[in-house]
């Protein structure tokens, strides 16, 4: 079966062990997690988990149902079926030789990123956007020599319809 990327937004009880229940569900059943991001919401006893996974249509059905079956999971929202905004934050440390600096800054400008740390021979750049933007950005920076990357998982919210 054909696989594609799914983005799930999951509200859970903010309790110890909940993340382990979810991680255990995925490892125990051989499901894959591409990225994961967890933080509390405006309600202190509720956390939102945003999870990206790549699988086929039958597996994503099972994943959603199995997640829902966990006692601490309140809602499972499949954003893939909806319109949503997605963001992911990354810090990218790249070699910045004098002759390359202008080009790097031009790329930074085009992608509306920011240079957040400058050294004698490197820049650290902050980028925020969906995963497509990240990929495009990294492919342009790659020839300059990427030293290291730290990236969050995707976070996302459904768009409000109507009005």
């Amino acid at each position: 079966m054909e696989t594609s990327r799914y983005l799930l937004s999951i509200l859970v009880d903010n309790e110890p062990g909940v993340l382990s229940r979810i991680a255990g569900l995925f490892s125990g059943r051989g499901f894959n997690i591409d990225s994961l991001s967890v933080a509390t919401t405006d309600e202190p006893d509720v956390s939102r988990i945003t999870m990206a996974t790549t699988c086929d249509a039958q597996i994503i059905e099972q994943i959603k149902k199995q997640l829902h079956k966990l006692i601490n999971v309140i809602t499972v929202n499949d954003l893939t079926e909806k319109k949503y905004v997605e963001r992911q934050l990354a810090l990218v440390k790249v070699h910045a030789k004098p002759e390359k600096r202008a080009e790097i800054l031009r790329i930074v400008d085009i992608f509306r990123c920011r240079v957040v740390d400058v050294g004698h021979s490197h820049y650290t750049i902050e980028i925020s956007g969906d995963s497509g933007k990240h990929q495009a950005f990294l492919s342009l920076l790659k020839p300059m020599g990427i030293i290291e990357i730290a990236s969050t998982g995707a976070i996302a919210l459904a768009r409000e319809m109507g009005k």
Partner: protein
């Protein structure tokens, strides 16, 4: 009112209608055990190994229909429960396991007899808790019982640190649990119900396939009415045995790897399967790609994850089996009966022909006892009224095939996990739940040795169970696979070195009988069943008998090895 944690625990357990706890003490549970013995209306059965406590609680749930409870100490006491919990999880049996734990201040310090039992049992419980605040103890216990028995039932574990148990707090009976993240759906979708009735009317060769879910939701009566009303033959999974009378003409026998010829053939040729409370385990489907090639499938289950998991279905219905069947029956009763069983006779004739040509069979000769014969005689003598527990292996399959279960909750087996050593503690749990019932463990010579220590529990507590050992001096089911698929290389399955089970019974204060001749089988059974107290009947049977039919793993259901 100030109560200790231990007092609260006992109060909350009793409030659930539980009258028996299966347990084993240790440093972390002394306070609880100290409290238990002060309650005349709560019996503590001291098992001889914690695994026994959990299997007994499992069977108590199944036979008694209230939630079984096990109570063990921290560390090794807790880890000894894992197999029993995993078995109950696989079979969706409601149960609450309480474990002692080191005091909260020591948790995480690798204290003496500390294990992270909540972490260990996360994947094999329906849910579990570590109680860290004495104020939450009562509500947590109540929630544990509620989760264990609602929706798709399952085992719940509650880990109780010693300081929580010793704490003194103001007790108030908690409100009924209300969880925003857990709301099982019992009521089926109306539109789907209408579709079911249409599908039944359109079907010419329908089959009902019932599973453990029917037993759990107590829907046997509804299954029987549905079958009778539309003349639909019925098969069940191992866990579903007893959901439909095993002596009814519409009964097909069990389905699957050791299912009857006619049940497996019916699935291969039917045009509609009404699957109720089943999860399409691989032991029942055989090769998935070749399962029921001509059939549309209706699947009714309380657990949405059971639907579309292994098999695509045309009409999924999420709902309680009993409630859903009631809705279906209500609509069916309004139909013209003629429309419900159109052209059924050719289908029933076909099934009858399969039954006549290829029945379950064995050949009882004069010299050596056939294990099937023992089970069939047991069925005759007990008029099918005993509660049968089993061990695992050939003994389990022969019990399933030859004790023609007519009623639910009378067949208690470790179905999903297949735990050797289940049958004896399970028999003890069933007997504790139903003291007026005859309880028989149909056992293998290998399995019975896995929890043999529980003989003492049975004898001490006058929980008279009868153990029928089908003694083939082999790990028979494994030997059978070696015979069929490994060139008869019987590696590590010979069990000729075995205790003398008659003397062993005697050593424990039970009674033992041995039977080596076919002519004595009936006599031994009658004598053994009539002897008061716990009894072992050791039937020395044909060593290399195999269970037939057999669908080799990965084969299509209709491609059976036959005698």
């Amino acid at each position: 009112m100030k109560l200790t944690g231990a007092q609260i625990l006992i109060k909350m357990i009793k409030a659930q209608g539980v009258d028996t706890i299966f347990g084993y003490p240790g440093g972390a549970t002394i306070d609880i055990h100290d409290e238990i013995v002060r309650h005349n209306d709560l019996r503590h059965i001291l098992v001889r190994h914690e695994q026994g406590a959990v299997h007994a609680a499992d069977a108590y749930s199944r036979a008694h229909k209230t939630t079984g409870v096990a109570l063990v100490t921290s560390g090794p006491g807790a880890t000894n429960t894992v197999t029993g919990i995993a078995s109950a999880h696989a079979d969706s049996i409601p149960m609450v396991v309480f474990c002692g734990q080191v005091p909260t201040g020591l948790i995480g310090n690798d204290a003496f007899q500390e294990v992270d039992i909540v972490g260990i049992t996360r994947p094999c419980t329906k849910h579990n808790y570590l109680v860290k605040d004495p104020e939450k103890l009562a509500a947590t216990i109540q929630e544990a019982f509620y989760i264990a028995r609602s929706g798709r039932p399952g085992p719940v574990l509650v880990d109780l640190p010693k300081d929580i148990i010793q704490a003194e707090i103001d007790f108030q009976m908690p409100e009924e649990p209300k969880l925003r993240s857990y709301k099982p759906n019992y009521t089926p979708n109306k539109k789907q119900i209408a579709k079911v009735v249409e599908m039944i009317k359109d079907a010419r060769r329908p089959v009902i396939f019932a599973g453990g879910g029917v037993i759990l939701s107590r829907a046997s009566e509804e299954i029987t009415r549905l079958a009778t009303m539309a003349r639909i033959p019925v098969t069940t999974s191992l866990m579903g045995l007893g959901a439909f009378p095993g002596t009814d003409p519409l009964w097909l026998g069990m389905l699957g790897m050791h299912g009857t010829f006619r049940a497996n053939m019916s699935i291969g040729h039917c045009d509609l399967i009404i699957a109720v409370g089943v999860r399409f385990d691989d032991r029942v489907t055989g090769n998935i790609a070749k399962f029921a090639p001509h059939a549309a499938i209706i699947q009714i289950d309380i657990d949405p994850t059971s639907i579309h998991k292994n098999i695509p279905v045309q009409c999924p219905i999420v709902g309680d089996c009993k409630t859903t069947l009631e809705h279906i029956l209500f609509l069916m009763e309004k139909q013209d009966p003629k429309d419900l069983a159109v052209d059924r006779q050719p289908w029933l004739d076909q099934i009858d022909q399969w039954k006549q040509t290829t029945p379950l069979k064995y050949d009882q000769k004069a010299d050596i006892i056939k294990p099937q014969f023992v089970v069939e005689k047991l069925w005759e003598i007990t008029k099918g009224e005993a509660i049968i527990t089993t061990e695992v292996g050939q003994n389990q399959m022969w019990a399933a095939q030859y004790y023609h279960f007519d009623r639910p909750n009378h067949f208690i087996t470790s179905g999903g996990l297949g735990v050797m050593g289940f049958g004896l503690p399970a028999a003890i749990g069933a007997k504790a739940a139903c003291p007026d019932k005859l309880v028989v463990d149909v056992a293998g010579d290998g399995s019975i040795q896995m929890n043999i220590q529980e003989l003492m529990t049975a004898v001490e507590n006058c929980l008279d169970v009868k153990i029928v050992i089908l003694n083939n001096r082999y790990l028979g089911m494994v030997r059978q696979w070696q015979e069929f698929f490994y060139n008869k290389a019987y590696a590590c399955t010979n069990m000729e070195s075995a205790p003398d089970f008659v003397k062993l019974a005697d050593a424990y204060g039970a009674t033992g009988f041995r039977c080596t001749e076919p002519a004595c089988v009936e006599d031994t059974l009658r004598k053994g069943l009539a002897t008061p107290g716990t009894v072992i009947m050791d039937f020395v049977v044909e060593r290399e008998e195999s269970v037939y039919p057999m669908v080799p793993a990965g084969g299509a259901l209709t491609e059976m090895l036959l005698v």
